[in-house]
């Protein structure tokens, strides 16, 4: 595609830049905001999300922490207690397991324990997701751990526009918000887009219909949004009209958008890449079941990672993760139920 003079390609921004802008804008507007993480300052982050931030806002507000996830998460709590807004970067979301107790037991419950006296405006964010040969510890989508731990909001943007708007909302939220950034999307060319010049915020808890359809609802988030969109195209070729819902925010969850869609299509497939058992896909199936069982013409199904770790070698990895073909196939099964 050739670039025309009146649509300069340079204005398009990738997912990573969108995140960076959101953080930078909030750091600029909110002098009470601190960033902490491993290698986020001098290096600018393993993926570069915080590049330039330390030079601009100073080493005391953009802290290169020791490799101590528990101390990082715990000190974020202390900073919040002192009135700060804190952005915590996990170098990979997989390493969140090392700060787990401080997050689920200290941070997530602080507001609850104090009957509202203390709030915890903390954003925990980091690169996540498989399909990239990252193997067991650089591929995780472990959101279910935190969705089962009351007191943490969880979001997962899939476009640059959403990434920026949701990140800004997260950084203004008085509660802990965990952001699954899809590392495969950071620099993906296909999804680059122009972002508004003026400031914008996307409130947490609003899903987005990425494609309208009438025969089946595909509920998903993260990079599976693109798999579902591809599958919807293939389904269209076979005469099946699929609606694709990008949840964007898992907690709070936009049940209304899901229910309205199901009322229209009467069929649902939920797709995510986390392990199956007790994953969020099953949760959506359960909710659909609770909220609109009588509208279902077929069982609400899910396509997820198998209950395995994410293996390294490509054939292994692809084997355990949902694919476009599987989405098409399962959708057809549901439609023909």
């Amino acid at each position: 595609m050739s670039v025309t003079a009146d649509a300069p390609a340079t204005l398009k921004k990738n997912y990573l830049t969108a995140l960076k802008e959101a953080i930078d804008e909030e750091m600029t507007q909110n002098p009470n905001m601190i960033c902490i993480g491993e290698d986020i300052g001098i290096l600018g982050g393993a993926f570069g999300v915080t590049e330039g931030l330390q030079a601009k806002h100073g080493a005391s507000r953009v802290i290169d922490a020791p490799i101590s996830e528990a101390a990082i998460c715990g000190s974020a709590v202390g900073m919040a207690l002192a009135g700060k807004t804190v952005m915590v970067e996990m170098q990979f979301i997989d390493f969140i397991s090392c700060g787990f107790d401080q997050i689920v037991n200290m941070m997530a419950t602080y507001h609850y324990r104090t009957a509202g006296e203390v709030s915890m405006p903390i954003v925990l964010r980091g690169p996540a997701g498989a399909y990239s040969g990252g193997a067991l510890y650089h591929s995780q989508m472990n959101e279910a751990w935190f969705l089962n731990s009351p007191g943490i909001k969880v979001i997962c943007p899939s476009t640059p526009y959403d990434a920026k708007g949701l990140m800004k909302a997260a950084l203004r939220d008085p509660n802990p918000v965990l952001v699954y950034e899809i590392k495969n999307l950071y620099r993906m060319r296909d999804i680059e887009e122009e972002l508004p010049e003026e400031e914008y915020i996307i409130p947490l808890g609003k899903a987005k219909i990425r494609r309208e359809g009438t025969d089946i609802t595909l509920v998903t988030y993260g990079q599976n949004v693109y798999h579902c969109l591809d599958a919807a195209q293939k389904l269209a070729d076979q005469g099946v009209s699929a609606e694709v819902i990008d949840l964007r925010s898992l907690n709070p969850l936009d049940e209304e958008t899901i229910v309205n869609s199901v009322k229209k299509t009467n069929r649902v497939l939920v797709v995510n890449e986390a392990p199956r058992t007790c994953g969020f896909a099953g949760e959506i199936v359960a909710r659909v079941n609770e909220l609109c069982f009588e509208h279902l013409d077929a069982p609400a199904l899910r396509l997820t990672r198998m209950d395995t770790p994410v293996p390294w070698a490509k054939p292994l990895e692809l084997h355990v993760l949902p694919s476009v073909d599987q989405i098409v196939e399962t959708s057809l099964k549901i439609v023909r139920f």
């Binding site: 020791p66 101590s68 000190s75 037991n105 507001h111 939220d173």
Partner: protein, 370 residues
């Protein structure tokens, strides 16, 4: 350049800091010991009378640690007490403020309401026992996870320093809790950034049913400081003045920006881990050790020093004989009446305070708006 030596620095003061305290202050420290002791005695009695349920983690015999450390702090400083430190919650900021409870971090009414699990507690009985705190009163709310507030303290200290504050943040920990990974991560972080964080180790020789030699290879838990090149003081936890002296040094060290430090206070757990453990503890702890460990009652030690310093007569010292007794043997008459009165007020308030409404159980999971 970070400090390369871990030897405790000399304090700037020529004399022992405690020698600079007035007679009133000396006597006030003794009163704080009485207060802490009576809190414990009172709760045990309330429980025996069936007016209280739940587990009590006694601070009996360890009161000098709380009194001595808290006496060296300003109200802008933060503390984080744990299960064995209940009196700390109402003793913070008490120095020179007896009878002016409104200026105190947390009132005895609030603390007792917490013990009783009533709506009068700041957390509205959502979490139990020592899991209480106050943002305005500068007390961190702990979880049950031991050593878990040390990183919180480090973050608080970091933010406070960044804002130009001079607050010191003090966490209290049993010696057993120092084996937690988060202890290491947090102190390492605090040492790198020279944060004003003081870690008190209450070495009462036991962590529940486990003796110290199974928790740490060295005699002095203060030696943990050496791994971070920070000062590690050892205080006589039975002597409120020794604790105070070491704490003054640590506070000065912290407040002048030199960084974190550790104070190990040697003491001995008087009873079982909690009162549910009293019977078993009698079996797993050699009687001789227990007797020896309880020989030096901090109230007795304090009185002896007051008499030696000429701030109290022998007769005055003998007036309230709370020391050297178990809770059941201790009578209200063994305490100054104002101490009994003080705690009684708290207990009565708590007992009258209603339980929280059931529906509150579902509230405050998230804060609605900013």
């Amino acid at each position: 350049m970070p400090a390369q030596k871990s030897a405790p620095p000399k304090t700037a003061s020529p004399a022992r800091p405690s020698d600079l305290l007035t007679k009133e202050e000396h006597l006030e420290l003794l009163k704080h010991l009485y207060l802490a002791r009576y809190f414990d005695v009172r709760l045990i009695k309330e429980k025996r009378r069936g007016r209280l349920t739940g587990t009590l983690y006694s601070s009996h015999n360890q009161e000098a640690i709380l009194a001595g450390t808290l006496y060296a702090l300003k109200s802008t400083d933060w503390i984080s007490p744990i299960h064995r430190d209940m009196p700390a919650f109402f003793m913070k900021d008490l120095r020179g403020k007896w009878g002016q409870d409104d200026r105190i971090a947390m009132t005895v009414e609030e603390v007792c309401s917490q013990v009783w699990g009533r709506s009068g507690s700041p957390g509205r009985a959502r979490d139990n026992w020592s899991h209480i705190g106050s943002k305005s009163g500068h007390i961190i709310h702990s979880t049950s996870m031991l050593a878990g507030t040390i990183p919180v303290a480090a973050g608080l200290a970091y933010a406070n320093k960044l804002d130009g504050g001079d607050a010191v943040v003090v966490t209290y920990n049993g010696e057993g809790s120092t084996a937690q990974g988060v202890f290491h991560e947090a102190i390492n972080f605090a040492a790198v950034h020279k944060l004003p964080v003081i870690t008190i180790i209450e070495n009462n020789q036991w962590a529940y049913g486990t003796p110290t030699h199974l928790e740490y290879p060295l005699e002095d838990f203060a030696r943990r400081a050496d791994g971070y090149g920070i000062p590690g003081w050892v205080a006589d936890g039975q002597d409120v003045f020794d604790v105070y002296d070491k704490m003054v040094a640590a506070v000065e060290y912290a407040r002048t920006g030199a960084g974190p430090s550790i104070i190990e206070c040697k003491t001995f757990r008087a009873y079982g881990h909690g009162d549910h453990d009293d019977d078993r503890a009698a079996r797993y702890r050699p009687t001789d050790d227990v007797n020896k460990g309880r020989e030096r009652d901090p109230i007795a030690v304090c009185k002896r020093i007051l008499v030696e310093k000429g701030m109290m007569t022998q007769a005055e010292a003998a007036q309230y004989a709370a020391e050297g007794k178990g809770a059941p043997q201790t009578k209200d008459e063994d305490f100054p009446p104002e101490v009994v009165e003080y705690l009684k007020r708290g207990v009565e308030y708590a007992i009258k305070s209603p339980l929280p409404d059931a529906a509150e159980g579902a509230m405050w999971v998230f804060r609605e708006t900013n």
